[in-house]
Amino acid sequence: MIRFEGVRKSFGGATALAGLDLVVPEGAFAVLLGGSGAGKSTALRMINRLIDPDAGRVLLRGRDVAAEAAPALRRRIGYVIQGIGLFPHWTVARNIGAVPRLLGWDEKRIAARVDELLTLLRLDPAAYRDRMPAQLSGGQAQRIGVARALAADPDILLMDEPFGALDAVTRQALQQEMARLHAATGKTILLVTHDVEEALSLATRLAVMADGRLLQEGAPRDLLDAPADPRVRDLLDGGAIGMRRLSLVTAASLAGPTGEAPAALPHIPAAATGRDALEAMLAARAEAVVLLDAAGAPAGLVALRDLLRA
């Protein structure tokens, strides 16, 4: 659990954080959302003490982060940044093994861990472990960046606009990858972004910040339905609040019984979102869509009017 208590910070005359109180529950995929200058990166970088607060404190599992030497603290926390920052003079394997090496793991254990992480991030260890960072695409490099952050098996992963520099297709693939990693590992993830779509698609807890303060924190759906501040509504609305609501529910939660569905209706997987269902209906010019379970059997039917329940 991460807890900010009355945290303030200013750089020169500019206030970055004006008294931040925030709790990130254990195991959450928490997203800090806000425009530039909201203070979200400053807040994130205080957790691993890349920035120290002027006032207030940051607690990690009840313990003030300032109580521990910064290097030791950072080795227990994964850190992923927009610029990726792979060490350009080291191979992929050496990059991933950076923190384990700092922790003094033996070479055999590091090599095994490197291969395990490459496999986890769907990169063939034999093909990638000896490459240099210059030989990677942006998406591959950020996968290595994530692998490096996970190498020493930290409980907490901090991600500062990690996909901001990637193209849309790569970004989406990596977002799905992170959702899968979060579900598979149960790690607490705190991700900073200014991208509302990204925030809504990843967050289990969403915190909206502006001007160095927390505006609202909660489940993404609650923020969409009951924004506590006009700035939260403006940020989340963006002229697409209906679609955003749809993208937060699974199609299965909107479905009725299959009945005698016409064979001509389009099919989508049951795990798809309400938004996917609408897209499939619009694409096929159909008034309903059939959900298929993992085995490919019909599992329900979503009609156009069912979407209004989202």
Binding site: P71, Q82, G83, G85, L86, P88, A98, V99
Partner: protein, 240 residues
């Protein structure tokens, strides 16, 4: 391609061996000179003492230059940067002959004033290369290194210096070539080196000696440049 950097060294060696046999040639070139070949010391002995002068100044210059460069680029080392800048400005403004002239009354004639001048002069390119090279290490890489839990020392030795090494080595190469050329000036203060025939020639009105000392000094500078260039290239190639 492989042999190209060795060519100046081979040329220097050939000149060093051939020069003692070239007495008649210089006699023909400078018919007014009574003693056309410099024989007070062997050219090989002069070369060795010249090389010693260069090495003895280059090592402290490298240590000072890299050390000051590293210190000046540490976060929160404002005063250090000011001192380094002042040193750079001073070393740039004062020519080596002037340093020797200032040093001689203090430390006497001989090798010492030349060493002082050479160290001052060779430190500058190393210091410049070091601060410049360390400034080019990408901030994202530094951020990632810090965020991974590297201590400042680990960051310096595992990340910053390896990434900055090629330009620093290039600076050392410049310093070495400068030192070879400048060491000849040491003869003014009485240091034995390839500048000795030049000074002796100027004093005795013997242009043949001046040419012999100048040719060997120039070729030695080329040789050092070529050899160090061959050393620097593989290092930078191994860190893409």
């Amino acid at each position: 391609m492989r042999l190209a950097p060795l060519l100046p060294a081979a040329l220097f060696l050939a000149a060093l061996l051939a020069l003692p046999l070239a007495g008649p040639t210089f006699g023909a070139l400078f018919p007014d000179v009574a003693e056309p070949l410099y024989r007070r010391e062997s050219f090989i002995a002069l070369t060795l003492s010249h090389a010693w002068l260069v090495l003895a100044s280059l090592v402290p210059a490298a240590v000072t230059g890299i050390g000051l460069g590293v210190a000046a680029t540490r976060p929160g080392a404002r005063e250090m940067r000011v001192i380094a800048d002042a040193l750079v400005g001073f070393a740039q403004a004062v020519p080596p002959v002037a340093i020797i002239a200032i040093a001689v009354p203090v430390v006497g004639f001989g090798v010492t004033p030349s060493l002082i001048a050479l160290v001052c002069y060779a430190t500058l390119p190393v210091l410049r290369a070091t601060t410049g090279a360390l400034a080019t290490v990408p901030t994202d890489v530094l951020d990632a290194a810090r965020g991974s839990g590297m201590t400042p020392r680990q960051m310096l030795f595992q990340v910053e210096l390896p990434l900055a090494a090629p330009p620093i080595l290039a600076g050392l190469r410049v310093a070495a070539v400068l030192a070879v050329a400048t060491a000849a000036v040491g003869a003014v203060a009485g240091a034995s080196c390839l500048g000795t025939p030049i000074i002796a020639g100027l004093v005795n009105g013997n242009p043949a000696w001046v040419v012999q000392g100048a040719v060997l000094t120039g070729l030695m500078a080329f040789a050092v440049d070529g050899l160090l260039g061959a050393l620097v290239r593989p290092v930078s190639a191994s860190s893409p």
